[in-house]
Symmetry: C2
Subunit: 461 residues, 2 copies
């Protein structure tokens, strides 16, 4: 038979087992923290009806959608049926909106859900761009209204997640779209469309620099005065160094339009409440340049950056929106949410050398010295598993040296040898492949000893 | 704006949060047990290249495939490009074969992997048939060879999983394809194709009954003698009542072809070793009628049934195969594996009333008596979360009665009230919504007390 080359499509991240373990541990940390803050799990099907999925989206997003057709549907499509009935989700927000609208009467509000699933985008293949990637989202959805206090809770969750992920110092950057719009109004930029266009340019400040922004804003497209452009620039470069400094910077804006006052009041409440949530002032700041590209957001907006790796960009972003599911229901459903794009984050952390290959999830390998003793090996393994210690037994046999080599290559740290000597003496030999050390332990003390060793290894790695 | 109806495609199981929690707990139990036995996690992309995915499959499976096209590819397809380049996986076995072949030189053998992901089949919509469902698979893959002892390990994993899932008494049924083929040979049915056809009829024994099988085998298609048909029937109805009885039944078959002898020897080794793995004899049996439809299996085959719910059918099946990835690599990769179709199992258990809606993952709701005391509520919640207790705080406010009602509806058992009285006395009032009871506890003892209550609740539910 001619062989087919085993290969995966470009733009996906398929991991070897020890890398998958490292990835899975990140997923577990995120989930544990989401649950600790009282968010409930939701999973939605990977496919949605195309008309449901594509109500809101236009241009760019629509072109990146993956459509799905069963063999039967495909045959019909060839007869020219147009857009296929089904498509893969490209984010978790549209499925959330559909879910809440569909199950509205079975949910309790405020509805707090987390969802950690893969999403799909037909991106052009290039380094660091993924066509399949995990998003780990939380959202709080209110019915009719939702207190701005929830906008302060999400940074507390972000803090809790990234502290435990332990990938270096990070800062949660916070701003408010109402404040930005209000500030633009105070400069005489009253048109909403125009505000959005200016915002889009300001968003590029970090990439293109101040001169480019100044030129663009005073150029033919915007036609702003040099003074106005400078005010926008000065404003956009404002970042707080402490909570008090944030309040000072907010006050320094002077009085302004209703939008500005509303945005300022919200920011003050949110920023001080984040402190009440126990987030140290060193870990969050007011940053007037944060706008988030999407028109979707209407109030608080967040980005999170690693202090020592600014080039990675935002590792967790989100914000407040006025109405989640206006395309599906007349109910008004305001919400606030954040998203971690874990596949990209993991890939970047690994690329930056910040994350290594994990120790195996297998704690112990029980070797096979003598096939006749297999029942003893299996009984021992059963005891260890009963104590929650993940244990593999060599069933195939072969030379002991080869068995050690297998454990080493597979990332298994502890290897147990149970030979005639050991059986006679009622002991077990434990080899620590990491420390290249070995010790004998009484059979009765084995579980206790291994638990201590594994707990130490956990801290050590 | 005209509303689009929020709806999901037929054939998917989308769950409300408390059901999702119950489902997630099952996934967690399965994963924990797979890891305890030393299996390593693997995840593969949901899409594979169509030519890679469809090398082996024909007819039925191929018609059920979902093909995937990005918007750009779709435009090309309309010009008549034929089968789309990408398709969704329809099981986890083909992706495993592709994975092992692709990463062969980076893996350690025997390669023990678990994989718990959703798979997709364009099934006709009908009750209990799913187009998207979870499979939870483990496989052990050898390079060149793999000891039959691994065939005994998988029932130990099955036992461990279903004991902890706690969904009622179950029996792992074991047979061996070599033995079946050898037995047919001893009846003069020598042709492999013919054996497969007979097997397929025997597989229907439980559904169609003995008379139907007898008629079919003596009918024009098979033309077997009444005596031969009866021997097949008698054989197929053989089930062991203990390990000794299994050995007796195997011996009673008398001497036979090489295949029969090999199958018998394997079964004896596997059955007695399952006992060495600590599986009670009450939980596994030799069952000569188990064949598994797929031609894929070559030796040991498994099915698992719930003793009190035989109509649910097999809840965990699998077996031994000679060569995993012959379509992708010249390496010989024998293996043995099992699969739990969790979506269908969960659905059936819920349907049979064997599984209820879970208690919320949220352990505690901190109510809001007085907005001015929010910092105190947040500090308390922070302490609880730090102790690993999942805690939600009411941030919106509103009447206390409404807050209790929310907790009750959301399945949160413990509600904390911290009013002026409590703050003055240094205590906290805990309401247990399940027991409709409440008690006061010193603030300093709260975590300890809640831990005890939650541990008891865990046992109670």
């Amino acid at each position: 038979m001619a062989l087919t080359q085993a290969r995966t499509m470009p733009g996906v991240l398929e991991l070897l087992p020890l890398d998958q373990i490292a990835f899975q541990r990140m997923l577990d940390v995120i989930r544990r923290n989401y649950e600790r803050f009282g968010f409930l799990p939701v999973e939605t099907p990977v496919m949605e009806f195309s008309d449901v999925l594509l109500t809101k989206t236009g241009g760019e997003t629509e072109r990146q959608v993956y459509f799905v057709q069963s063999t039967g549907a495909l045959a019909n499509a060839e007869k020219g049926e147009g857009v296929p009935e089904l498509a893969l989700r490209f984010d978790l927000t549209v499925p959330l909106a559909r879910y809440v609208a569909e199950h509205e009467h079975d949910l309790s509000f405020p509805f707090r859900r987390y969802q950690m699933q893969r999403v799909y985008r037909g991106e052009r293949a290039q380094r660091g761009r993924f066509r399949e990637f995990y998003q780990c989202d939380i959202d709080v959805i209110g019915k009719d209204s939702l207190s701005v206090r929830y906008d302060a809770e999400l940074p507390a969750v972000i803090y809790s997640v990234f502290r435990e992920l332990d990938i270096g110092a990070f800062t949660i950057q916070i701003n408010n779209r109402k404040l930005i719009r209000g500030f633009y109004e105070s400069l005489g930029i009253l048109d909403g469309e125009m505000q959005t266009l200016v915002l889009r340019e300001v968003d590029k400040l970090d990439k293109r620099g101040a001169d480019y922004l100044r030129e663009t804003l005073t150029g033919p497209q915007f036609g702003l005065s040099a003074e106005t452009a400078q005010k926008i620039l000065d404003f956009s470069q404002g970042r707080s160094t402490s909570l008090q400094d944030a309040f000072d910077k907010l006050d320094a804006l002077g009085s302004g339009s209703a939008a500005l006052e509303e945005g300022r009041a919200e920011l003050k409440e949110v920023l001080s409440m984040i402190r009440d949530f126990g987030v140290p002032e060193s870990h969050y700041m007011l940053n007037f340049s944060i706008a988030r590209g999407l028109d979707y957001y209407t109030g608080t907006v967040y980005e999170t950056t690693l202090n020592d790796y600014p080039q990675i960009g935002s590792i967790c972003s989100g914000g407040r929106y006025e109405n989640l599911a206006g395309q599906y229901t007349k109910s008004k459903l305001p919400g606030v949410g954040i998203s971690i794009g874990l596949t990209r984050l993991y890939w970047q952390l690994r690329d930056a050398g910040l994350i290594g290959t994990a120790r195996s999830t297998v704690d112990v390998l029980v070797t096979q010295m003598d096939p006749a003793q297999l029942p003893a090996y299996l009984a021992l393994a059963g005891e260890l598993r009963g104590a929650g210690i993940a244990t593999e037994v060599v069933l195939d046999g072969g030379k002991l040296g080869k068995q050690f080599k297998y454990a080493d290559r597979a990332g298994i740290r502890f290897v147990i040898v149970l030979g005639e000597d050991e059986l006679a003496k009622g002991v077990v030999t434990v080899k620590d492949l990491r420390r290249e050390d070995q010790f004998e332990v009484a059979r009765a003390d084995l579980i206790k000893t291994l638990r201590v060793e594994l707990a130490q290894a956990e801290v050590g790695t």
